[in-house]
C-alpha cells in the first residue's frame, strides 16, 4: 500500500463508498488489532475519552455487542439505545432523536435501522461520525468487511476466488455489502436462490446469477448461506421452509460441489436445517465463529480509522 495513504472517510455508510484501497486498509488494521482480543488484559487506550452511541432500532445481539466490545477494548465510552427505550416510540422522528443525541457531543453514532438510507440521513443531519450497522435492505458494511477479513485469513487472498452467496439476496443488506466488497477486491461472486429473492440489476452490483444452487457453488472457494427471514412469508416468495431447505439449503451435497477446501460462512443467526445443514455449520470447514471473532477486530479498526487519527 502507498505509504501516503490515509483513510479519509468520516462516516462508513456502505462498501459502495469505499475504494479497494480503503477496504484493504481496514482489513490490515483489523488484522493488527485482532491480537488485542487474545490478551489477558483486552484493552488498549487508543480511543480513551471518545464517546460512542449504539443506536439500534432493530433487534440485534451479535452486531450491537460486537460494536460495544470493540469500542470498550479501545477504551471508548459506549452507550446503548434501543428502539423500545428511545423517544422514537413517543413519536419523535429519527432526525430529532439524532439531533438530541448529537447535542451530547458523541464522537460516533452506530446506527441499525429498518429503513434503507437512514444512516445517510443521520450523517447528513449531525456532526458526529456515523457507522451504518445495517440500514434496511441497503448495506451492512462492517459485516461485509468482517466477511472479507475471514476469507482473506482462511485463503490468504481475495482476488481470484469464487464466492457463492445462497439465499435471500433481495432483502439482504449483508449480501449487498458482500457482493460490492468481494467484487471490489477482485473475487468473482455468484448468487443463487429462489428467483423471487433475486433482485433486479444484481449484476450491476457485480454478481453473476445462477439458476440452481449446485451451479452456483461449482468450483467455489467460499459458500455463504444467508438467513431466510421467516417474517417475509406474507409475500408469496417461496412455498414453504421445507421446500426451501430441499432446493436452496446448503447441504452436504451442495458443499461437495464446491472445492474440497471451500469454507462455509453464514452471517447469523442461523435457521439450522433451513438454509444450512447443521453438520456443515458445526463442521471443520465452517468459519462461522471466526466471522464473529473477526467482527470485533473489524469494528475496532473502523472506530480507530474514523476517530483515532487525531
Amino acid at each position: 500500500m502507498d505509504s501516503e495513504y490515509r483513510f479519509s472517510h468520516k462516516h462508513v455508510l456502505g462498501l459502495a463508498d469505499l475504494s479497494a484501497e480503503d477496504i484493504l486498509a481496514v482489513l490490515q488494521t483489523a488484522e493488527s488489532f485482532k491480537e488485542i482480543s487474545s490478551r489477558s488484559i483486552k484493552k488498549v487506550p487508543t480511543l480513551r475519552g471518545k464517546t460512542i452511541i449504539n443506536f439500534f432500532f432493530e433487534p440485534s445481539t451479535r452486531t450491537r455487542l460486537s460494536f460495544e466490545v470493540a469500542a470498550k477494548r479501545m477504551s471508548a465510552d459506549t452507550f446503548n439505545i434501543s428502539n423500545s427505550g428511545s423517544s422514537t416510540v413517543k413519536g419523535e422522528t429519527l432526525i430529532d432523536t439524532a439531533r438530541n443525541l448529537a447535542a451530547m457531543n458523541p464522537d460516533c453514532i452506530i446506527l441499525r435501522h429498518p429503513r434503507s438510507g437512514s444512516a445517510r440521513l443521520l450523517a447528513d443531519h449531525i456532526n458526529a461520525s456515523v457507522i451504518n450497522a445495517g440500514d434496511g435492505t441497503h448495506e451492512h458494511p462492517s459485516q461485509g468487511l468482517l466477511d472479507l477479513m475471514t476469507v482473506r485469513e482462511a485463503k490468504g487472498r481475495i482476488a481470484g476466488l469464487k464466492i457463492a452467496i445462497i439465499g435471500d439476496i433481495a432483502h439482504s443488506r449483508v449480501a449487498h455489502s458482500n457482493i460490492i466488497g468481494f467484487s471490489k477486491m477482485g473475487a468473482a461472486v455468484t448468487v443463487s436462490g429462489p428467483a423471487t429473492l433475486i433482485p433486479p440489476g444484481i449484476v450491476d452490483l457485480g454478481a453473476q446469477v445462477s439458476r440452481t444452487v449446485m451451479e452456483a457453488v461449482e468450483g467455489a472457494d467460499v459458500i455463504m448461506a444467508l438467513r431466510i427471514q421467516k417474517e417475509r412469508q406474507q409475500d408469496p416468495l417461496f412455498p414453504s421452509l421445507r421446500e426451501y431447505a430441499k432446493f436452496f439449503g446448503v447441504s452436504q451435497k451442495v458443499a461437495d460441489a464446491a472445492k474440497p477446501e471451500a469454507i462455509i460462512m453464514h452471517p447469523g443467526p442461523i435457521n439450522r436445517g433451513v438454509e444450512l445443514d447443521p453438520k456443515l455449520a458445526d463442521g471443520s470447514r465452517s468459519v462461522i465463529l471466526e466471522q464473529v471473532t473477526n467482527g470485533v477486530a473489524v469494528r475496532m479498526a473502523l472506530l480507530y480509522l474514523i476517530m483515532g487519527g487525531d
Partner: protein, 434 residues
C-alpha cells in the same frame, strides 16, 4: 365589473380558432371583446394597456390534476395558496382531487371547496368527487349530489379502485350524471411497499421497487372496462411506455379514452432519487429514459391529451425523513410552463400543441369553459414570456409547500400575466411598468 385591458402586439396562440399570429386582444366586462390585427383597436381612456411584444397570449391554462389539501391538511396548502400558485404558474383553472380530509365524497365538501375558491379568487376550481365513499373502495359515492354541487369528475386518486366491479359500476353510473371517471392506475398488490421504480437503482439503494406493470395492468383493466361499458375514461399521470402503447391501441379501436401525464414524467428519470432524495419521491415513480422518451412521443402524437401537474404539496414534516416513510408527490403548478416549453424548444412539439395540452384539451375533457380566445368568451388569458430565464428558488414559490426536485434549476419561460375573467390574478414583478 373589471375594466378594460388591451393586450398589444403579443403572439396570440388560439388553436380553437386556428389563430397563431401577432394580434391585439381587448378585454371588457370580464370577456374577450375583440381580437384584431395590431394597432387596429383604439386605446380607450381608463383602460390598462400592455405591450406584449415577444410574448405569447394564450387561453388560460387549465391544470386538470392538483391537490389543494384543504380541507384537512392546511399546513401543506390551502385553496387560497394553491390557487395563488396556480395563477403564478399561468393557470386560470384547476381540478381539485378529492383526497382531502375529509374526502370530497359528498356535496358538503364540494360546496366548501367552491366557496373557498370563490373567496380566494385566484383561479376557477373544479372539484373532483370521490368514486367511493371515503375513497375506501367499497361503495359508490353520491355522484348525483356531487354533480349538482359542482363536481366535474370522479376519482379515488391517490388510490386505485381495486375492485373491478366497483370501477365498472362507477363508469356506468357516472353516465347518469355526466361525470368523467378518472383512473389512478395502480395494481396495489404489485406496488405494495414500493418506494421507487423497480430496477437496479432500487436494488443498489436497497429500496423496494414499483414495477411498471403495476401501472400497466390497471391501465389495461380500465381501458377494457371503458370499452365494455361504452363510457369515457381518463387515465391520470401516465408514466410508462407500455401504458402509452395500451392507450394508443385503445384509441385506435375507438375507446373513449383520454390521458394525461405530468411534467416530471417527461423531464426526470429515476436517477433523480439517487442519494435518497425524497423530493423526487412520487407515485407513480419516476421511471427510465425509455419511458421519458415514450411520454414525449405520446404528447406529440396525440396518445396523451393533456399535461397536468399532479401538484402535491407536502411540508418538511412529510419529506425530511427516511425515504421509505416520506410522502409521495411534488408541487408542480409553478414549473409546468417552463418544463413544457423545454419540449417546445427541443422540437418535441410546437407552441400550438403546448396550448392544446395545457388548455384546450383539459377544458374539453372536463367539459368546462375555457381553452379559447373567442370573442365573447370569459377573459381567462395567460401571457407567457417564452424567453424569460429564472432560477427556481424556495423564495419564489407561491405555494405553501416547497417540495420540488427542480429547486435550484435554471428554467426558461414563465407566465408573466394571468387574467381570470378580466381580472389580473398574477403579474410577474419587474416585467411590466404599466
Amino acid at each position: 365589473m373589471p375594466g378594460l385591458i388591451l393586450l398589444k402586439n403579443g403572439r396570440v396562440i388560439d388553436p380553437a380558432n386556428g389563430i397563431d399570429q401577432i394580434q391585439d386582444v381587448l378585454i371588457a366586462g370580464g370577456k374577450i371583446s375583440a381580437v384584431a390585427p395590431p394597432g387596429t383597436l383604439s386605446e380607450q381612456t381608463g383602460g390598462i394597456v400592455y405591450d406584449l411584444a415577444g410574448k405569447w397570449v394564450v387561453p388560460g391554462l387549465i391544470d386538470m390534476h392538483v391537490h389543494l389539501r384543504e380541507p384537512g391538511q392546511e399546513y401543506k396548502e390551502t385553496i387560497a395558496t394553491g390557487t395563488r400558485a396556480a395563477a403564478a404558474g399561468g393557470f386560470t383553472a384547476v381540478a381539485a382531487m378529492p383526497n382531502t380530509k375529509p374526502v370530497n365524497d359528498n356535496q358538503t365538501v364540494t360546496l366548501f371547496i367552491l366557496a373557498k375558491a370563490a373567496e380566494a379568487g385566484f383561479a376557477r376550481v373544479y372539484p373532483v368527487g370521490a368514486i367511493s365513499s371515503g375513497s375506501s373502495g367499497e361503495h359508490l359515492a353520491e355522484f348525483g349530489e356531487l354533480r349538482q354541487a359542482g363536481a366535474v369528475a370522479v376519482t379515488d386518486d391517490g388510490l386505485p379502485v381495486g375492485n373491478s366491479q366497483l370501477m365498472r359500476r362507477a363508469l356506468e353510473y357516472a353516465g347518469n350524471h355526466d361525470l368523467l371517471v378518472i383512473s389512478h392506475a395502480e395494481e396495489l398488490s404489485l406496488s405494495h411497499n414500493g418506494a421507487m421504480n423497480y430496477g437496479s437503482l432500487a436494488t443498489r439503494l436497497g429500496l423496494q421497487g414499483i414495477p411498471h406493470v403495476a401501472e400497466e395492468i390497471m391501465v389495461y383493466r380500465d381501458l377494457a372496462l371503458a370499452e365494455f361499458t361504452g363510457r369515457p375514461i381518463h387515465i391520470a399521470h401516465v408514466s410508462t411506455r407500455e401504458s402509452l402503447a395500451l392507450i394508443r391501441r385503445a384509441k385506435k379501436k375507438g375507446v373513449a379514452v383520454t390521458a394525461e401525464t405530468a411534467p416530471h414524467y417527461f423531464t426526470l428519470t429515476e436517477t433523480a432519487v439517487d442519494g435518497y432524495n425524497t423530493l423526487a419521491k412520487m407515485n407513480p415513480p419516476l421511471r427510465t429514459e425509455a419511458d421519458v422518451a415514450a411520454v414525449r412521443g405520446a404528447l406529440q402524437d396525440g396518445t396523451l391529451d393533456a399535461i397536468a401537474t399532479d401538484h402535491a404539496p407536502h411540508g418538511e414534516l412529510d419529506k425530511d425523513m427516511e425515504f421509505d416513510l416520506a410522502a409521495n408527490g411534488i408541487i408542480g403548478l409553478e414549473t409546468a410552463v417552463p418544463l413544457t416549453l423545454q419540449l417546445v424548444r427541443e422540437n418535441n412539439f410546437d407552441a400550438r400543441r403546448m396550448v392544446e395540452l395545457l388548455s384546450v384539451n383539459p377544458a374539453r375533457i372536463l367539459g368546462v369553459p375555457g381553452g379559447t380566445l373567442s370573442v365573447g368568451a370569459p377573459a381567462d388569458i395567460t401571457v407567457i414570456d417564452p424567453e424569460k430565464k429564472f432560477v427556481f428558488t424556495e423564495e419564489s414559490i407561491q405555494s405553501k409547500s416547497k417540495n420540488s426536485p427542480f429547486l435550484g434549476w435554471e428554467l426558461q419561460g414563465k407566465a408573466v400575466l394571468t387574467i381570470l375573467e378580466g381580472r389580473i390574478t398574477w403579474r410577474q414583478e419587474g416585467d411590466f411598468s404599466s
